[in-house]
Amino acid sequence: MSGNGLEKVGGAGSAGTAGERREIVKRGISASPGIAIGVAFLRDPEHLVVPRTRVPESAVESEIELFQQTLAETRNEIVNVRTLMTDRMGDDHGRIFDAHLMILDDTTISEGVFRLIREKRYNAAAAFNAVVEDIIRSFQEIEDEYLKDRYVDIKDIKRRLMRNLLGREKVGVEKPDGPAVIVAHDLSPSDTAQLDRDATLAYVTDLGGRTSHTAILARSQGLPAVVGLESLSGMVENGDTVIVDGNTGTVVVNPREKTLQDYRLEAARYRELEEQLLTLAGYPAITLDDKEFMLAANIDMPGEAASVLEHGGQGVGLFRTEYFFISHEYLPSEEEQYQTYRSVVEALRNKPVVFRTLDIGGDKIASYLHSSPELNPFMGWRGIRFCLTRKDIFKTQLRALYRASAHGQVKIMFPMISQIEEVTKTKEICAEVRAELRRARFKFDENVELGIMIETPSAVAVADHLAREVGFFSIGTNDLIQYTMAVDRGNSKIAHLYQNLHPSIIRFLKQTVDAARKRDIHVSVCGEMCGDPFSILILIGLQIDEFSCSPNMIPEVKRIIRSVTFDECRALVRRVMRMRTTADIEREVEGFLRAHVQRGGAAEGASE
């Protein structure tokens, strides 16, 4: 948490003073490659820029009145939301808003605000901000993690009430004027979903790691991102010049002229390199000994489809449908979904598109779907578990997907499978959907291939059974590693346990591929592991059929594939299968990479 509310108050309206401020260089985690130079836009819903004025004595009572009116208005708003949620999702979901109402009614807030207005002559917004920040701070001091988490409810109320207050005072900028570097303490998937891709140059956040959702999204949009910068957002003001170097994980705020020049050169060099890699787009992903792999892309939004082809992708290996849901304030209808899926399929011009059905839960939450907080969301009601209990939502999505299959090559994939019953149940639902569409005389492909994500250790263990039920496997390495190593990838204290090349992971991959081979079904890897040069060599050696990664990584993956032989990678896998530690495996792979990949390279590979 950066700074306190009042410091931010002082920063209001001081944009444009960048020249006088000193250069700040911070290292974070490189989350998405590329270099961007631009003006900062602070996207911080928790830290609204709150205007601070001194209220003259004559206006004190009207300022108090303003606050009371806003309280009443906000109260009505929450009552309405509660009614809506109770109607839609049952009494239990409405109940959290009772607590919100009680917070609004709590005299701790109103008395504190009145006192600051009367005694210190704060304006209502600044007074409310100070009181609530105090409460939030006292909550953050609580050591118990579960109790501590509850300050998000208070933030939620703060946001609501502040919006109403500031709306009256006609202050508060929501969107940058032009293209900007988005700076935030943290960006939730719903925050990023609302940001305009064309107005975004790069992402910079205090929290997050390489596999956090900001990182994944930035990579699929081809925008640079640096995350895990700890307290940077507190040092930046709107309008500051910011350099984001996603290649090294460096961020420079208010750069000196010399720094700026250096980075301009570096940015140009990088662009050139990228263009060179792009010339590979037309060549197949084939090893020196003629083994061909399929390269596909992971995307979240229809707008990214064009970049898949541009980077030489042979299809979409993972279309995450949840971002479409998260970016809506309500449940998108069948027709809306159909139009969206159709536009993706059409943009891919008959190349296959694997749609993953709604994977809500975990750290991806749409407010209208999933209102009750869970103690352990990653082990909770997510993926197929959510869909099988909310069959209404699931069937609507499946109908839309089947209808889109009339316009191109659609495949459907189900997330978070941990037992075979989930697959048989899901297939029954798909059959129901097909029967309904047939009756309603919709055009669709009767043979849409159905596949599953392999991302839980239990799915790996029964992969041989699962392989009899489905048309393809896609290994979601991010979650598979998280669940296998029992490590929260967002927790910096244990993040080192998140290891792509842990012996357990390589064994699990091998087991999954073997099970798929036996039934002759297609197996792909769609986790972030595909973008890691070390891991790629192992995946080649394991004979994964398809690699699916962010569009802008496709050329680099292709370069690596084109510079090695399948035989040598297989031998490498045989060697590392016998090793006991990640460190041993990494050393072996690094040596291999040095000996084979560097001497290969794009130009040589492309000349065949």
């Binding site: 959290i96 607590a99 006292s138 001091e141 579960y146």
Partner: protein, 88 residues
Amino acid sequence: MLEFTKRIDNKIGLHLRAAGEFVKVAAQFRSEVTVYNGDRSANGKSILGLAGLAAARGALLRVVVDGPDEESAQRALAHLFDQKFHEE
């Protein structure tokens, strides 16, 4: 003035929702309600105060009621603990 001490044994302690349930009951009475968790104390009619007590599962809370209807207030609040704040 009456008081009782009870252990919080609903799943995740006196979080916001549970604190809300407490306030709902406490607010029905005219008596003043004060809740102690170790050396911290809070007004039993303030949801923020109660949630700020940081009473995790297993914490022993001392509840003091003082006023004209303190007996029924004590009964109702003690009952709420037994019902685990209507959670399960």
